[in-house]
Amino acid sequence: MTESPTNKPGNGDVCQRVRNGLKPERNGLLKTLYCCHERQPKHQYHPEEEEEEEEANAEPCHGGLYRRPFIESFEETPMLVAVLTYMGYGILTIFGYLRDFLRHWKIERCHIAREKEEQKDFVPLYQDFENFYTRNLYMRIRDNWNRPLCSVPGAKMDLMERTSLDYNWTFEYTGRVVHDVINLGSYNYLGFAENTGPCADSAAELTVKYGVGVASTRQEIGNLDRHEELEKLVAEFLGVDSAMAFGMGFATNSMNIPALSGKGCLILSDELNHASLVLGARLSGSIIRVFKHNNMQSLEKLLREAIVYGQPRTHRPWKKILIVVEGIYSMEGSIVRLPEVVALKKHYQAYLYLDEAHSIGALGPRGRGVVDYFGLDPRDVDVMMGTFTKSFGAAGGYIAGKRELIEYLRSHSHSAVYATSMSPPVVEQIITSMKCIMGKDGTTIGLERVQQLAENTVYFRKKLQEMGFIIYGNEDSPVIPMMLYMPAKIGAFGREMLKRNIGVVGVGFPATPIIESRARFCISAAHTKEMLDRALSVISEVGDLLQLKYSRHRIQPSLVRPFDDNVYEEIDD
C-alpha cells in the first residue's frame, strides 16, 4: 500500500522490472555481487567489454571506485515458495469474485460506503475492478497499517488498542493503550524523535516566541530569519554552496524537478524511485526513461542511446539529461552505486539528482549521507535533495547544490512562490538536531548516534541472516526488508509481532512486486542492544511459527567474504 516506489512506467521507452522476481539478474546485481571490481573510467564505457572485464575480475578488490566492499544481496525466491504464493493469490482472487457475487445479490452484507441516491445516474466515480484488490485482499489484513500512536515515535511507542468486529471494515478503539511496543517501523534513524532534550526544548521555545504557522509564502512575507539560518546550516552540513528548505519532503521532489527540467530534456529514473520523484518527473513535461534498479549497464546504455540518437522523432540533441536516483531505496534496502553513477554522469555530461530521503543522517561516518558513505565530493552531485522527516525527526525537505542552482530555485521553485513556508518549531528542531550531528553543540552525542546506528544495523542484519531469513539490500542500510512472500503472511507476521509487543511494517503489492511481500525493519540509533535482542528472538520465534526462514544458504560466509555465482548455483537444485 503506502510509500511505494511507483513501478508505473513513464512515457517513452521503458525497461520494465521483471515482475516474478525469479530471474537472478533482477537488478543486474547478482552477477556482480562483490561489486568492487576495479574499473578504469576510461574504457569502462563499452557494455560488451565490461561484461568480460567483470568475469575476469572475479577476485574482489577493495580499491577502485569503492572504499570498502559493497555487499548487497537479493537472494532468489525459492521456486516452491513462488508457486505457493501465486496459488495463494489465485485462491484469494477466486474468493474475492465469489464474495463480490454474494455482495451483488445482497446475500453478504456490503460494508462499502455507497454513492448518494441523487447521483446514482452519474458516471461512476470508481471503476468496479479498481477497488477489487482493496476490497478483497487489503481489507483482510488492513489492521497492520495505520496503527495509531499516542506517544513519541521513539525506540518504544504506545499504540492505541483497536478491534474490529466486522473483519477490518471498521475499527473500534477500546480506550486501552498497548504500552512500550518496540518500534521497528518508524524512520527514526538517529533517534531524534524525542519529547525531551535540547531539540524539544528549542522547538518549545520557538513555539512560544513565533507560534506554529507562518501564513504566507517564502517569496511574499513568510521568509523568517529562522528559515535563512536553517538553509545556511544545511549547506554547511552537506559541504555545498547553498541550500533551500521546503515544507514537505514529497513536495520538494514533485515541485522542484519541474523547475529543473522541462520540454526537450530527458530524465533517466531508477525503476524503483519514490512516487514523489516519478510525479515530479511527470509534471516537468520531460521525456522519462527508466533504467533497471541500480543497474549501471542499463543506465549507461540509456545514456549512450540518448546522446547518440537525440530526441525521439526529431532527433534533435537533448537539452540536458537528468539522472534521478535515491540514496537508500526504502523498499529494497539497497544503496545507490553512487561512485559509478558519478563516473557515468561525468563522462556523459549528464546532471545528477540524488534523493537522500532515507540516507541523510543514516549513512556515512559523519552522517552526511550516501556521498559521505562513499567518500565522494558533494560537489559532484548537482542536486542534493533530502528530507528532514527521518533522521532529523522533523518534517520537510531540502535541495542543496551550487549557488546558481539555489538562486534559480529561490526565484523559480513552485514551492517558494505558492506554498506556505515551514513552521518555525519544525525549523528549530532541524537546526538543533543538525547541529548535534555536526558536533556544534559541543558534545559528541550526534556522532555517537551515527556510529550506534551503523553498529545496530550490521548487528541486526547479521543476526537475521544467521537465523535463516532472506533479507534484501546492502549490509550497511538501516532499512532491512525481510521476505515474507505470501500475502497472508504479512497479516500473520504483523499480528503475531504486535501480540509480542513489537511493531513492524509489512509491505505488499503494489508497493513491491506481486510475490515479494515483505516485512520491513527500520533500525534506529535509539534501539538498545536489549531491545534488538528481544526483537530478534521474537522474530525468530514468529519466523518458526510461520515458517519464514526461507534462506537456502543459512551458514553465512563471514561478512568480508564476497558472494559469487557459486552461491546461487548451489540453490538451483
Binding site: L224, G249, A251, K390
Partner: protein, 472 residues
C-alpha cells in the same frame, strides 16, 4: 461432410496431375516469391545508417548540454526575499522595520493566539516534533484522528482527511479521482495548486471564463452532444468541475448555487477549493457553502488548507465517506508523505475550538473586510480588485506601463514606501512562465481581525500617499 472433403482432395490431386509443366513451374516460382516477400526485411535503411562505435563516441564527445539552470541576474525581483525577524503576527519586523501586518493570511489572528500556542506546546511535550513516518507506517497519531473527526464535525460532512502540506491537498485530491480520459471543467482563475493537480491527473482540461456560468454551460452542452455521439465512451468518462470558493487570484466568490444546478443538470461532480474561504465566509466560517446556504452534501469534495485562517500547517479534504475514503489509498500526498507533525495538528484543533466557541469572530472579520474594501476605493492610480467580503484583496495599476517588469517595480516602490511608514504589504507572486492565465501584477492587501480602525486608517492613507507620490 467427410466425403465432401475427400472429394475435393481427389479433385485437387487430379487437377495437379493434369496441369501442364510450365504452369506448375510458374506457380512454384510464385510461391517461392511470396515466401521471400514474407521473410525478407522490408527496409534496410537501418543497417546502412547504423553508426559505428567511433561515430557514437564522436557524437557523445560533441554533445554539449545546456546548463542545469539558467543564470539568474542578481537583481531578479524574486531572488532577494524580504526577511522577517520574529513572528509574522500582527506586528511584524520586516527587513528590520517594525510594521503592522497587512500581508500574512492570518485572517483570524490565530497565529500568535496564546491558547493555540499552549496546545501546541503540550503536544510537543507529549509527541516530540516529527512523526517519522507516513500515515500507514506508524505515522498516524491519535491527534490526527481527532483533527479529522473535528474537521468533519465542523464542516458537517461525513469524513475528513488531512494532508501535511496545504499545496499538496488539492494537487493530490484531483488526480486521485480524475484519470487519463476523464474531463475536468475548470475556472480560468484557478490557483496554481489546482493547475498542478490537473496536470498530474493527465485528464482532458476545459477552461471556462472566470465565473462565467454561461460559458461553462456552453462547454457542458458541447460535451453532452459529444457524449451522445459516443455513448459507450461517455459511460466511463468521469466529469468534474473544479472551482475555488473565494479565488485567491481575483478575490471574488464563485456562484455556487448555479454551479450546483449545472451539476445535476449535466451530471458533473464538483470539487471546491476553499483555502481562502474556509474560516472566513459563512456565519460559522464553514466557507462558501454556508455563505450561499448550499447543502454541503451537494459538493462532492471540499478541500482547504489550514495555513490561512487556521494559522497552522497542512490541509484537509472533506465530503462523503464514499468519496473521501478513496484518498487514503490513492491520494499521493497522503500515503507517500510523512504525516503532519502532531503539534501542528493540535494547534489546528485548538483553532477549530476557538472558531466554534466564538462565531462572532467571523462577523468582526466581515465588517473589517467591508471597511477596508470601502476605504481603498478610489485610490489614485490603483484599481481595487475583489468583493467586499474578501479578506485578501488585490490592488492593480489602473494604467499599465505596458511592461510587466516595470509595473512590478512601480508596485514594489509603493510597498517600500509603505514599509518605511510601518505598513507591511507584499506583491502577489506568480511564476510568470508557468501560470496558465497569468494574473495582472498586484499588491496584496490582507485584512485580519487584529487590525484596529486606526491601523486600517493608517494603512489606507499610507497607500494613498504612496500612490499619488509614485504613480505618474
Amino acid at each position: 461432410m467427410a466425403s465432401g472433403q475427400q472429394w475435393v482432395l481427389v479433385e485437387m490431386v487430379q487437377a495437379f496431375c493434369e496441369a501442364p509443366a510450365y504452369h506448375l513451374i510458374l506457380e512454384g516460382i510464385l510461391i517461392l516469391w511470396i515466401i521471400r516477400l514474407l521473410f525478407s526485411k522490408t527496409y534496410k535503411l537501418h543497417e546502412t545508417y547504423r553508426l559505428t562505435e567511433k561515430e557514437k563516441e564522436d557524437l557523445i564527445e560533441e554533445w554539449q548540454p545546456e546548463p542545469l539552470v539558467p543564470p539568474v541576474s542578481k537583481d531578479h525581483p524574486s531572488l532577494n526575499y524580504d526577511v522577517v525577524t520574529g513572528p509574522p503576527s500582527h506586528n511584524i519586523i520586516i527587513n528590520g522595520k517594525e510594521c503592522i501586518n497587512f500581508a500574512s493570511f492570518n485572517f483570524l489572528g490565530l497565529l500568535d493566539n496564546e491558547r493555540v500556542k499552549q496546545k501546541a506546546l503540550a503536544s510537543l511535550k507529549k509527541y516530540g516534533v516529527g512523526t517519522c513516518g507516513p500515515r500507514g507506517f506508524y505515522g498516524t497519531f491519535d491527534v490526527h484522528l481527532e483533527l479529522e473527526s473535528r474537521l468533519s464535525k465542523f464542516m458537517k460532512t461525513e469524513e475528513a482527511i488531512i494532508y501535511s502540506y496545504g499545496f499538496a491537498t488539492i494537487a493530490s485530491a484531483i488526480p486521485a479521482y480524475s484519470k487519463r480520459g476523464d474531463i475536468i471543467f475548470v475556472d480560468e482563475a484557478a490557483c496554481f495548486a489546482i493547475q498542478k493537480g490537473l496536470q498530474a491527473s493527465r485528464s482532458f482540461i476545459k477552461y471556462f471564463k472566470h465565473n462565467d456560468m454561461e460559458d461553462l454551460e456552453r462547454l457542458l452542452k458541447e460535451q453532452e452532444q459529444e457524449d451522445q455521439k459516443n455513448p459507450r465512451k461517455a459511460r466511463v468518462t468521469r466529469k468534474f468541475i473544479v472551482v475555488e470558493g473565494l479565488y485567491i487570484n481575483t478575490a471574488d466568490i464563485c456562484p455556487l448555487p448555479e454551479l450546483v444546478k449545472l451539476k445535476y443538470k449535466y451530471k458533473v461532480r464538483i470539487f471546491l477549493e476553499e483555502s481562502m474561504s474556509f474560516g472566513v465566509l459563512g456565519e460559522h466560517g464553514r466557507g462558501v457553502t454556508e455563505h450561499f446556504g448550499v447543502n454541503i452534501d451537494d459538493i462532492d469534495l471540499i478541500s482547504a488548507n489550514m495555513e490561512n485562517a487556521v494559522a497552522s500547517i497542512g490541509g484537509f479534504c472533506c465530503g462523503r465517506s464514499f468519496v473521501i475514503d478513496h484518498q487514503r489509498l490513492s491520494g499521493q500526498g497522503y500515503c507517500f508523505s510523512a504525516s503532519l507533525p502532531p503539534m501542528l495538528a493540535a494547534a489546528a484543533i485548538e483553532a477549530l475550538s476557538i472558531m466554534e466557541e466564538d462565531p462572532d469572530i467571523f462577523t468582526v472579520l466581515r465588517e473589517k473586510c467591508k471597511h477596508v474594501h470601502k476605504a481603498l476605493q478610489g485610490t489614485p492610480g490603483l484599481k481595487l480588485v475583489g468583493v467586499p467580503l474578501a479578506p485578501a484583496l488585490h490592488l492593480q495599476l489602473e494604467k499599465s506601463s505596458g511592461s510587466r517588469d516595470s509595473d512590478m517595480q512601480l508596485l514594489r516602490s509603493i510597498i517600500d514606501y509603505c514599509i518605511d511608514r510601518n505598513v507591511a504589504l507584499t506583491l502577489a507572486r506568480y511564476l510568470e512562465k508557468e501560470e496558465r492565465f497569468l494574473p495582472q501584477p498586484s499588491i496584496r492587501v490582507v485584512v485580519t481581525v487584529e487590525q484596529t480602525d486606526e491601523d486600517i486608517q493608517k494603512a489606507v492613507s499610507c497607500i494613498r500617499d504612496a500612490a499619488s507620490a509614485l504613480i505618474k
